[in-house]
Symmetry: C2
Subunit: 262 residues, 2 copies
Amino acid sequence: MTVQHHGRYGADAVRPVGDLRPCVESAVTRAIPAAREPVRAVPEAAVARLAVYLRVLTLMIEQGVTTISSEEFAAAAGVNSAKLRKDLSYVGSHGTRGVGYDTARLVEHIERLLGLARHHSVAVVGIGNLGHALANYPGFPDRGFPVTALFDIDEDLIGIPVGGLPVDHIDSMPAVCLERGVTIGVICTPPAAAQPVCDLLVTSGIRCILNFAPVVLQVPGDVEVRRVDLAVELQILSFHESRRCGNDEAAADPVGGIAVSR
Amino acid sequence: MTVQHHGRYGADAVRPVGDLRPCVESAVTRAIPAAREPVRAVPEAAVARLAVYLRVLTLMIEQGVTTISSEEFAAAAGVNSAKLRKDLSYVGSHGTRGVGYDTARLVEHIERLLGLARHHSVAVVGIGNLGHALANYPGFPDRGFPVTALFDIDEDLIGIPVGGLPVDHIDSMPAVCLERGVTIGVICTPPAAAQPVCDLLVTSGIRCILNFAPVVLQVPGDVEVRRVDLAVELQILSFHESRRCGNDEAAADPVGGIAVSR
DNA sequence: GCGACTTTGTTCCTGCGTTCACAAGCGGCT
DNA sequence: AGCCGCTTGTGAACGCAGGAACAAAGTCGC
């Protein structure tokens, strides 16, 4: 993976995300006080998968599926069925034994867990090729993330509408973000500009950042950064490819001199 | 995280034993010829980080840094120094005690491990907004991944040059991929087209796929798929945001249907 | 040349995440 | 109504990855 999660870099970045105690609550005490769900600590990895499940579910609903078993669901999502059930248990037990899960209800609960009840406005910074594409990306608004601000430093771009939205100068970022209630910033600038832009986003009050620049950003502890490095993705594929077809690194070794006949 | 890796999800694996004896295989290193160097099992997570280290290293070299300690390096890469050293040990022990690592040599060895000695040609399928951006993305060729083929199904696009490369019709994919030695396919199509396109890539002999469509692809076991779902990234950020402030999925009572406080 | 300091490489340990397997629960069938 | 089979939910075991600490090793100063 590579979309690397390191909000607070270093240290325990992978700690379970939940805030409440790791509680093993006895099944008996669960008289279902509906107001207070027993929110267990949700592992980071599970959160990522839940988002995927959500996507798969909406596709299924479109196809008219109203109920699905964990086995089928797992196959569609490409995971183990036990893992899927455990992941779903983090959002609460909403399946029906002997039957499966109600797709519509499940969507509802996952969305709630992920905090999607509230729509998050997105600002895209750096309107180059990639920024352009993201500004027009239908998957963002379709899934509850309307793009409401575009920023660039290039004077020639200011005011030009991209995807129906005019580009603003980055100097106006604090004001514009506040005004439009932006909560997520997306960085699509060249590498050198990424850190300054990041700082600017932070001072604008943004605490969630999606970074496409191949740079490790330094941010305060309360800011969450996710990095998507496209070239890194390819490099990981490259690793597997070379592993698969025996193209081993030792054979190509000019230094170590152990030329291995493979 | 979301770039989901699931070519073969790790089966039974043996603990990476000490050092020198070969044939300790884990899910990652299996399927390699024997008779080799002490290539230890490299965890998937470590591969991803190594790619990041590579990027950080090249930046440092540009700045004239020739030697670096694990401590500084770790800070720049945003990881724990012990973890970094362990990761680097997977590529072999090339540091100098009391001094640190030689940046140039390190780059060389990491590139070898990742199989970057050989350049991988990339084909982009689906020349919409995102496909356009990726075809022009400088980070691909800069890091050893030249884009050598573009495909779309839209007749109006065929022949049009994008980033200096004319678009081909997907029907010609097998021939073109073979001719140009394409090893990696990138899917930027709408969701509905992703699976058919994926099948086409596989029959064209491509075994490494980077998928930007929000769909879980079904592929044969020997094909490696990595998924980058942009909306999922935002959803994960959304989760953390809602956790941080007002974590109110409990307040938004599922049953009672109490209005969510916005 | 020798000692001391610095930094690596590794080993051990702890903890999370995944998987297995089974009991509990629900619907359908007779 | 009661039984049977199916599916969920979870307790427990296992394997893997991360973190701390230490020993080997090499360099710099004297």
